[in-house]
Subunit: 311 residues, 2 copies
Amino acid sequence: MDANDSKRTLSCTSHVCVNNPHLNALKDDILYHFSLGTGTHNLPAMFGDVKFVCVGGSPWRMKSFIEYIAAELRMEDPKSDYPNICAGTDRYAMYKVGPVLSVSHGMGIPSIAIMLHELIKLLHHASCTDVTIIRIGTSGGIGLEPGTVVVTKQSVDATFLPKFEQVILGKTVVRNTDLDQKLAQELLQCSKELNKFETVIGNTMCTLDFYEGQARLDGAFCSYTVKEKQDYLNKANDAGVCNIEMESSVFAAMCKLSGLQAAVVCVTLLDRLKGDQLSSSHEVLQSYQQRPQILVGYYIKKQLKALAKGC
Amino acid sequence: MDANDSKRTLSCTSHVCVNNPHLNALKDDILYHFSLGTGTHNLPAMFGDVKFVCVGGSPWRMKSFIEYIAAELRMEDPKSDYPNICAGTDRYAMYKVGPVLSVSHGMGIPSIAIMLHELIKLLHHASCTDVTIIRIGTSGGIGLEPGTVVVTKQSVDATFLPKFEQVILGKTVVRNTDLDQKLAQELLQCSKELNKFETVIGNTMCTLDFYEGQARLDGAFCSYTVKEKQDYLNKANDAGVCNIEMESSVFAAMCKLSGLQAAVVCVTLLDRLKGDQLSSSHEVLQSYQQRPQILVGYYIKKQLKALAKGC
């Protein structure tokens, strides 16, 4: 933990922690994959008011999220089409409206990890306080009706254990994947108030691969039988796994290390106990994908109303 | 191996192998992350003539590669701006000119693995033969002048061993990361003929992370000293590691399993023994990034000339 810890105790606000003594020695910090930096951009002026960060795999979805949230918060700018703040690179896309930042992270643990390293540094350099971060994504469900939204209780690995293994200098370090349980309950409550779709709290399995890693039968390679696949998914079900995706474990671990209140909200696009291929129509899949953003939009609006009332 | 093996022996052409008996049971195969499928697209008509596939992380770079190759092969279409074949999704971008396919893969092993599963199935469904696949990318160098191009001999993990660990149904399976040594030598020879920049053959370390996983001192978290970092990179140097990137191991493993002739050609953007941040100017970094495409473009032109002569 860095010097922010003492600030936090004094002011009761929560700063975004970096955990790296070497950063102080840098003259400028280049956030290469965002095409931003402390020497080229006034990060406190650009991002100091951020209170909510939403991240998701697809750049299109994260742009549509910022348009949705702007309308919900009545902060639309009719002259603007919400420019991509990271327009100097095609690695990630970033959009902002008021206190809400929307960032894409690509697919898989390495891709979201690069983004999170640079996002955490960005929020730290910008002196942001009391930031909530929510991953909104898609997933395969286990024993759930397609379209169900899962708020992650614990992110577990392919052996159903709640841990993330980070390799540092060739050695494996195990990190905790706890998420904020109060935030998860608040999101579930929001879904009840919205009353538009089913939402559950459950464990999320995070894998390194979409095909063999998730026991699919439709990859380029498959060395197991239908029964072996079914047995594995049934075991996951028994271990409380409600859905499978590819980013939640490192997201949980890194947010915890940096003191960010974090949640994972993913819609299930299919029931993996019944199949592998995403064969629903484009329109149905699109409407499912909007559910996490509707839920998180409602949550943000509610929080901002509470803040405005001084609660 | 599937039925293509017998065809290969008979005809002396090499088919792209899928290694999955369940695929035959699928009525249609939906290549979800390409927004393509056997039920919706005539894959043999669209892709049957493909002989060279080039893949790289950035969609912009893969578009610029197809423009470059079109000009090199004098196959420019003045009316076309090379439409993205995967325009129905933002997960990957794909471009084609003549026998050359250019596909983006995002960052990290999981992201390239999803793309490769669907690419291998695409080439298989399209009945492509004698396909060469080359990853053109960027990397951090070890003890090399920035701008040096590295053709990978072996892809090694963070402990410098030539293996890729694939998790299948919760169990770890170790896969071989051999690349085509003849192709690597041919690429080195092409660089000599071009005589425009330094190219070497060496081992490439493939990591799951850009910051802690590559011993950088400038991530959001860092628990090691400058000396520990330096010792680790020196050990990598001693093990023959010339550069570090994030996709080569699964690329080598999957291409080997599917019978694709494969190479990895990455430029080094900095010498990691001297620093961590990419502080060269945008123009210098851009010119470095063009080197793998210049080398691979030269190789493809040479191969096509040889084929035209009936060699």
